[in-house]
Symmetry: C2
Subunit: 162 residues, 2 copies
Amino acid sequence: MSEHDAGFKAALEEAKQGASEGGIPIGACLVSKEGKILGRGHNMRIQKKSATLHAEVSTLENAGRLPASAYEGATMYTTLSPCHMCTGACILYKLSRVVMGENNTLVGGEETLKRAGVELVNLKNAECEALMKKFIEEHPDDWLVLMRGYEDIGEPPKKGTE
Amino acid sequence: MSEHDAGFKAALEEAKQGASEGGIPIGACLVSKEGKILGRGHNMRIQKKSATLHAEVSTLENAGRLPASAYEGATMYTTLSPCHMCTGACILYKLSRVVMGENNTLVGGEETLKRAGVELVNLKNAECEALMKKFIEEHPDDWLVLMRGYEDIGEPPKKGTE
Ligand SMILES: [Ca+2]
Ligand SMILES: [Ca+2]
Ligand SMILES: [Zn+2]
Ligand SMILES: [Zn+2]
């Protein structure tokens, strides 16, 4: 597992796509045991005013309704340590591995993933962290995680700011 | 917490609505600390070929993008014990309580919810259980939980059956 994996590159591209849309720059990509990209996506909280379309949930949603066998041995690449919901989604689908870009911005449900037997890899990627740092500096009210301890539960946009 | 709660009635109505659409009959409703219905929804796996729109996720999505304060003290009513993803969603949003209709059909992430300090109530409601029993009998291939141990990861519909 490395920054050269196609799944990681796709997740990072998704994060950048999110940034270019004014969204929270978190991307993800689901890769099958055989190395096939099953789905990819990015956080849509701001773009769709969505409470649930985090990068990993968007990715599973974009992958569509698959048979359980499709998820066997699969890896979820995500640019940031997955929150509790996305952690639970990876456990629901019995993914084998979660590869995260970084967890300096926040630590999500890593202990829960380990308890469930999901392999965890942290690529400690500087670009993923820089994308989040820039976003938080520019949109402090959309990222209250430092105060609240969980992912992207921002206050709704102020009237007239969008 | 009882079957007479507006939140439970709404969740059960949603489950029946799902059944009437040919979907998996699981409904949910999110109720604020003050007793206001913030959102409601039902499982859309079959209707939208969705891998993530479980009843509780649909409910959070339908409630929209709310400030963190809106979830404080809130209760998620759901007709069935929440799966790991929906468990994680309730933990992400720091809900105070999960009230389930039943857990005879399956036991989801109840231990994880308890560990996170979420209050759990089981109403042991016969109607919720009967809806699921009927669905599973009529659509065995859409509900492989008994074999696989988790919620509604069915095989995709066979060609020509929809
Ligand atoms: Ca804002
Ligand atoms: Ca079927
Ligand atoms: Zn998440
Ligand atoms: Zn669920």
